[in-house]
């Protein structure tokens, strides 16, 4: 199976700061990959590099030119007060091959089909702010789908939504994957999302580990990824990450006492 995208020792940086270092990665048809890592670990940059919006300063990125890519941004970055209806937002991604401003019948039909497919077909004329969190996420998935992508990139598709909405969105993403779309998503949710994906990349500027959740969600990998100790329990064959905050007694033990410091007793 040929690669949709292949990273070979890719390094990217913004200004002087390297954001991705020596990343090797390949994405093929049918892949479903989750990218986890702390804030600032380069997850969004990785997605943008896959999409071709960030160029490496070292290494190379090889893309299948016949594989369109769809990109779903974090909903937190969307300007919800922008005057745009659901249908207008979706049709934005049809930018090729038409000079006049208005959408063709064909484009409108395609947009309506995608909206129907995602269960928001009756909301085309509504302003994007008037929708629920899950519906808003679907609008941007619909916009990406209108490009007929073979690879769908999603930046934290479940951040800021409730459990029910997260379940709905993930159900939809799994459906798209079963229909043959390769998917890469970033997430901070190790238990709710990452543990249920077929493959994970643990990233902290460089790739710490790649593999099945049960192989990479380990205390050692997580500590190297997040720089903090995390416990991993097993529940029904699935890893469950437990954040363990130091007990007050333990905290006292690890606080270094400087001379003249009258804070916590040793």
């Amino acid at each position: 199976m040929s690669d949709l995208v292949r990273f070979e020792k890719v390094t990217c940086r913004y200004g002087r700061e390297p954001v991705l270092i020596n990343v090797d990665l390949s994405l093929t048809e049918g892949d479903f990959l989750g990218v986890v890592g702390p804030s600032g670990s380069g997850k969004t940059t990785l997605l943008r590099a896959v999409a071709g919006a960030v160029r490496p300063i070292a290494g190379r990125i090889v893309r299948d030119p016949k594989a369109p890519v769809g990109y779903v941004p974090q909903v937190e970055t969307v300007n919800w007060y922008f005057p745009v209806t659901v249908r207008e937002a979706v049709l934005m991604s049809r930018i090729d091959g038409r000079v006049v401003p208005w959408a063709s019948k064909h484009d409108r039909r395609d947009a309506d089909e995608v909206l129907d497919r995602l269960g928001i077909g009756d909301l085309g004329t509504r302003h994007i702010r008037e929708l629920s969190g899950g519906q808003q996420q679907r609008v941007f998935i619909a916009r990406a789908m209108l490009r007929r992508p073979r690879l769908l990139l999603m930046d934290e598709p479940t951040s800021g939504v409730d459990v029910r909405t997260r379940h709905d969105v993930m159900h939809l993403i799994h459906e798209l994957h079963h229909e043959g779309m390769a998917i890469v998503l970033t997430t901070h949710d190790l238990n709710g999302i990452a543990a249920h994906l077929p493959k994970l990349v643990c990233l902290n500027r460089e790739v710490i580990a790649t593999g099945r959740p049960q192989d990479v969600i380990t205390p050692d990998v997580l500590e190297r990824t997040y720089g903090a100790p995390l416990e991993v329990l097993q529940h029904g064959g699935m890893p469950v990450v437990v954040e363990r905050y130091p007990e007050p007694e333990e905290e006292r033990k690890v606080v270094p006492l400087r001379e003249g410091h009258h804070g916590h007793p040793a």
């Binding site: 005057p83 745009v84 209806t85």
Partner: protein
């Protein structure tokens, strides 16, 4: 009827109303992109930068308009370039670049001394003094801006709404920014003597804000903004003839009245909507 048509007997009035109507439409069109990018202050800032560089070029014996165009373009590009650095932001970038350009103009004025040109027209507008040539200039820029927005409508919309995803989707957002900078500079340069630098800023903001108050759809906002700008240019100059007001302020006051009406209308409409429709970004 004769009384209503009386001012159209004068060539200066026909030129004035034509140029103000075109300038209003042009400001309404470009103002939508300015306001939605959160750069409402750019009209104010750029007009000062253009004024400063135009004065500087004129004082050095060169063309007032060429100087304005060059200064405006350089300032607009610098603003868009600096604003891409998120740590600074568009409002601060506008403040730094345009006041700097304005200061350069003032320094050159103070160094050289006296001037023969009436700069009051550039500051406050002199719509009744425009020539047929001025009408042609404004018409040409309005046609170019209309054509550019028509041909690049989708790319401009996507870049304005979501520049990061537009970039990922293959749109050259830097090219769209440059296109906007060129059109804005051309707009302010040709409208400077018509509306005045202080009034351009208002006409770039009020019509799109009226459009936004009345619509949640981008293309309707665009049409409303152009219609409001056109209406204000026409009515403002027409009213100023009978009331013996300065034309630029009359145009802006007409726009301000429309803003108040639109604000009241949208407030009433908002109250009559169900609560669910008003709930912003349901998490």
């Amino acid at each position: 009827m004769d009384t209503l048509l009386e001012p159209f007997r004068y060539e200066f009035f026909r030129n004035a109303i034509a140029v103000a109507t075109l300038a209003g439409a042009l400001c309404g069109l470009m103002g939508v992109y300015v306001v939605l990018r959160g750069m409402s202050y750019i009209g104010h800032g750029l007009s000062h930068a253009i004024f400063g560089s135009a004065v500087a070029f004129y004082a050095l014996g060169m063309s007032f308009y060429v100087g304005g165009a060059i200064g405006g373009l350089v300032s607009a590009v610098l603003i868009l370039f600096i604003a891409r650095r998120r740590s600074i932001g568009a409002d601060a970038a506008i403040g730094v670049v345009t006041t700097g350009a304005f200061a350069i103009g003032i320094v050159i004025i103070s160094a050289i001394g006296s001037f023969t040109r009436n700069f009051e027209a550039a500051l406050f507008g002199d719509v009744l003094g425009v020539t047929t040539g001025d009408v042609g200039f404004v018409a040409a820029v309005a046609a170019a801006a209309g054509a550019m927005v028509f041909l690049r409508y989708r790319q401009l919309l996507f870049t304005t709404f979501d520049p990061e995803v537009a970039d990922v989707s293959g749109i050259s957002t830097a090219r769209m920014d440059m296109l906007l900078a060129v059109l804005l500079t051309a707009l302010i340069t040709v409208c400077m003597n018509v509306l005045g630098v202080t009034m351009i800023a208002a006409m770039l903001v009020i019509p799109p804000v009226v459009g936004r108050l009345l619509s949640d759809s981008f293309h309707r906002m665009l049409w409303i903004s152009v219609a409001v700008g056109t209406f204000c240019g026409f009515v403002g100059v027409y009213v100023s003839y009978y009331l013996n007001w300065a034309s630029g302020p009359a145009v802006v006051l007409t726009a301000a009245v429309l803003f108040v009406i639109a604000y009241a209308f949208s407030s009433v409409r908002r109250r009559s909507l169900p609560e669910a429709a008003l709930d912003a970004h349901v998490g």
